[in-house]
């Protein structure tokens, strides 16, 4: 009996929920933020979520939105779970979102074919499908500022320069410890190609997702193989565990390089021994920028943020800020291109293609020197921007290099192969019909 009532009530509630989606007033711009403050990746996800939210909230508080139009921010909790991410997407789809940022490669992949149908651009910042950098094939997907192939080529170039030239890498051994998933395996073909051409040796150490926190066997093998350099492609708890294991197994930390995902917490996990650990990065760390000061003043001090005051300016917090900087800039550009105030997903797609974040514009935004310039176009949805190397000095990240250029020709070969492959495998992949604003 009681169960009958309960099930009736449940059914009714479901129906209600399905039909009565809240309608948003058309004088605002709806920006959904897919975040994960829960689950196995919350350690990284919380900082990113705070950074993303706080920057846009700051624009709301300080300037009343973008171009005078208020932003409606809504977080949807994905827990880094594809199932929940797709549910989030379905729940925000009806509210005219101007773009989505899935913050998980697993969530990005199912959304890629839907983007052009639903007219919602996807901003997967330096993750997701690398091939989507090709704007002529993926007009709705954006993954600035660099692909993983760019990242790998920058690390190899940097190591080569330290050795005194790429050809000096001949005969060396480079260990590649990576998450055993699409994300971690992506750079492998390029690494092997480089190994063949330059003549170094590659040792692969895959880490399965369920063993992220237990890498003793990989590091034991590394100890046996004695690679001259270790390169890491990890995410979440894998990074911290790797640093800890590297320190424990006595691997020289100054020979340990990583792609751009470790955070301060990951480096701290290694204690004092983690000193010398290096990673790629493309934006500044710290809060000494007018825009970040404004976040402190308008958002954090007013209690509108979930972030503790001292976390503002940490690496992944700023990563979130960078993501929101792109969102805001895409909206602002869309307003400029279309002349409309309240922009739609289609407008923001054009906005993203016309993004031009040069030093002058960054200064205007209060982020002078925060990052390199980024210019996107109809054909290039990535930018392939150089990144710099930074080193852990035991307490904070220190920038130790100038921007390192990626090996563009090699990356382009990988990219073109992957993009045509994707379009071919998906028979009937739509040809680009969206007109181009900045055909060059």
């Amino acid at each position: 009996m009681s169960f009958r009532k309960l099930s009736l009530g449940l059914a009714a509630a479901t129906m209600l929920a399905g039909t009565a989606l809240p309608a948003f007033a058309q004088d605002s711009i709806y920006v959904p933020l897919f975040t994960y403050r829960t689950g196995a990746f919350a350690g990284s996800g919380t900082y990113i979520a705070d950074g993303m939210h706080d920057y846009l909230q700051m624009l709301n508080q300080r300037d009343g939105g973008i171009g005078g139009v208020k932003l409606v921010l809504e977080e949807c909790e994905t827990g880094y779970d594809t199932k929940k991410g797709v549910e989030c997407y379905e729940s925000v789809k009806g509210k005219n979102p101007v773009l989505v940022n899935p913050w998980s490669t697993g969530i990005t992949l199912p959304l890629i074919p839907r983007a052009s149908v639903d007219k919602i651009p996807i901003l997967s910042m330096a993750y997701g499908l690398s091939a989507s950098a090709r704007g002529d094939i993926f007009p709705w997907i954006f993954n600035p500022p660099s692909t993983y192939w760019d990242g790998l080529s920058m690390i190899i170039r940097y190591i080569g320069e330290k050795e005194g030239g790429l050809e000096k890498l001949k005969g060396k051994k480079i260990g590649f410890i990576h998450l055993d998933a699409a994300f971690g395996k992506e750079p492998v073909p390029l690494l092997q190609e480089l190994a063949k051409d330059i003549g170094f040796e590659v040792a692969l150490y895959p880490v399965a997702a369920q063993d992220m926190q237990n890498q003793s066997s990989q590091w034991l093998s590394a100890r046996r193989d004695r690679p001259d350099y270790m390169v890491m492609w990890g995410w979440g708890s894998m990074n911290g565990a790797a640093v800890k294991e590297a320190v424990r197994s006595g691997y020289p930390m100054d020979k340990f390089y990583s792609v751009w995902w470790p955070s301060e917490d990951d480096a701290r996990a290694g204690g004092a021994g983690a000193k010398g650990f290096k990673m790629l990065n493309w934006h500044a760390v710290g809060a000494n920028f007018p825009a970040l000061q404004d976040i402190q003043k308008h958002v954090v001090d007013k209690g509108l943020s979930k972030s503790p005051k001292d976390k503002v300016g940490e690496l992944l917090y700023n990563r979130g800020v960078y993501n929101s900087l792109l969102i805001a800039e895409a909206i602002a550009t869309a307003q400029k291109v279309t002349g409309k105030k309240v922009v739609t997903g289609e407008d923001v797609r054009r906005g993203l293609e016309n993004i031009k974040l040069d030093p002058a514009r960054l200064k205007e935004l209060g982020l002078e020197g925060f990052t390199e310039q980024l210019v996107l176009s109809c054909s290039d949805h990535n930018g392939h921007r150089p990144a710099f190397m930074q080193e852990w000095d035991g307490a904070k990240w220190v920038k130790i290099s100038d921007p390192i250029e990626p090996m563009t020709d090699r990356v382009k070969a990988q990219l073109d192969a992957a993009a045509t492959d994707y379009a071919e495998k998906n028979a009937g992949w739509p040809k680009r019909t969206e007109p181009c604003d900045n055909a060059s």
Binding site: S7, L21, R37, A182, K425
Partner: protein, 361 residues
């Protein structure tokens, strides 16, 4: 009053052995099916795509596991992997033979899953209970390893993920991004109804009796002439068939593309919880379990903020997530204490009480 047995006479064996002996039950079932079809035209996209399709997919997977665990008494933790086999098989088939209708491949992909399931079911003849669970856990890890390591399975895609190319049915897109939630939902609904009907006939017939006999006491069943090897393997095969089809539906009609990680051990547990909460050895329980475990959190996510906001409490999406976990967890414990045999048993009690309502004697 409206639901009673009086006046309905069974005059032959067929009506006596019917699955729904009561006219009211048959009418009710008809209404539910009609309503389910009507929903395709009345429900919003969110309701269809994010609630109903996954609910049906999980129901189908639960039916699969229920055949194995509920009817035959063999505990399995490999459900996620068996779903994955179905999905990968379907992908290989539909890309290798693009001209054959994809609905055929969805049904055929289940057979691949069935074969793999039967293979990993072989140890079940010698080991039982927790030990069998561990053996099926091996299937889970081994198959997941295969999904990552064999690029042939994804046609050497660089992303290593399954994608859903466009496929049509009489010119209407059913798979791929252009397929509308309506068509997807109608297809999933029809497949689930067909397979549920098949399962119902299986478990109520000779084969089902054999499974139940093995479950209740395999030694006695063997002495009565039931061959344990064949029966157990058949249960594994049929169960995996259902899981495989559910996996194919999950990737191609719900997600529209997925990574190997979708079929991890958590998926197996997720389905197992549905079966346990819904009721072991009950088909309708599979639906109840899927509803409670999958739909309840979604409803809570929508209802909780609405309930709390009048009191001036605005909660973040992460707090909602924590609340969801706590409430769903508490409800699971509550239901298991109130009725350890699952929601199906509650449903049965409810129906029995209703038969004599409002004059219990």
């Amino acid at each position: 009053m409206f639901y009673r047995e009086a006046g309905q006479f069974k005059s032959n064996y067929v009506s006596d052995a019917a699955i729904f002996p009561l006219r009211e039950d048959r009418i009710g079932l008809g209404i539910v099916i009609a309503a389910a079809y009507a929903l395709a035209f009345m429900g919003s996209d969110f309701l269809l795509q994010a609630v109903m399709i996954p609910f049906l997919v999980f129901s189908l997977a639960s039916i699969g596991l229920n055949i194995l665990t509920g009817y035959t008494g063999l505990l399995s933790l490999g459900t996620g992997a068996f779903m994955g086999v179905g999905a990968y098989a379907c992908y290989k088939l539909m890309t290798a033979f693009p001209d054959v209708n994809v609905i055929v491949w969805i049904f055929v992909s289940g057979f691949f899953s069935a074969a793999i399931g039967a293979l990993f079911g072989l140890p079940s003849l010698r080991i039982k209970g927790f030990y069998l669970a561990v053996a099926t856990l091996a299937a889970q890890f081994f198959l997941q390893w295969c999904f990552i390591r064999i690029p042939w399975l994804v046609n050497y895609n660089v992303s290593g993920a399954l994608d859903a190319p466009l496929r049509t049915f009489f010119g209407i897109p059913i798979i791929g991004a252009t397929a509308t939630p309506q068509t997807r939902y109608l297809l999933v609904l029809t497949i689930v109804i067909l397979l549920t009907w098949l399962a119902s006939n299986l478990v109520h017939g000779r084969i089902g009796r054999m499974w139940i006999a093995i479950r209740d006491m395999d030694l006695a069943a063997e002495l009565m002439g039931i061959r344990p090897l064949q029966t157990k393997l058949l249960a594994f095969a049929v169960s995996s068939y259902y899981c495989g089809v559910a996996g194919a539906l999950l990737v191609f009609l719900w997600y529209g593309g997925a990574e190997y990680d979708v079929f991890n051990i958590n998926q197996s547990f997720f389905i197992l919880f549905m079966v346990i909460i819904g009721g072991l050895g009950s088909l309708i329980g599979s639906f109840f379990g899927a509803a409670l475990i999958f739909i309840m959190p979604i409803v809570l996510g929508i209802v909780l903020p609405a309930l709390l906001s009048p009191f001036g409490i605005s909660v973040g999406s992460d707090t909602i997530e924590h609340l969801r976990f706590m409430i769903v967890g508490a409800l699971i414990i509550f239901f298991l204490i109130v009725e350890p045999h699952g929601l199906a048993r509650l449903w049965q009690i409810g129906k029995q009480k209703l038969l004599v309502w409002p004059f219990p004697y």
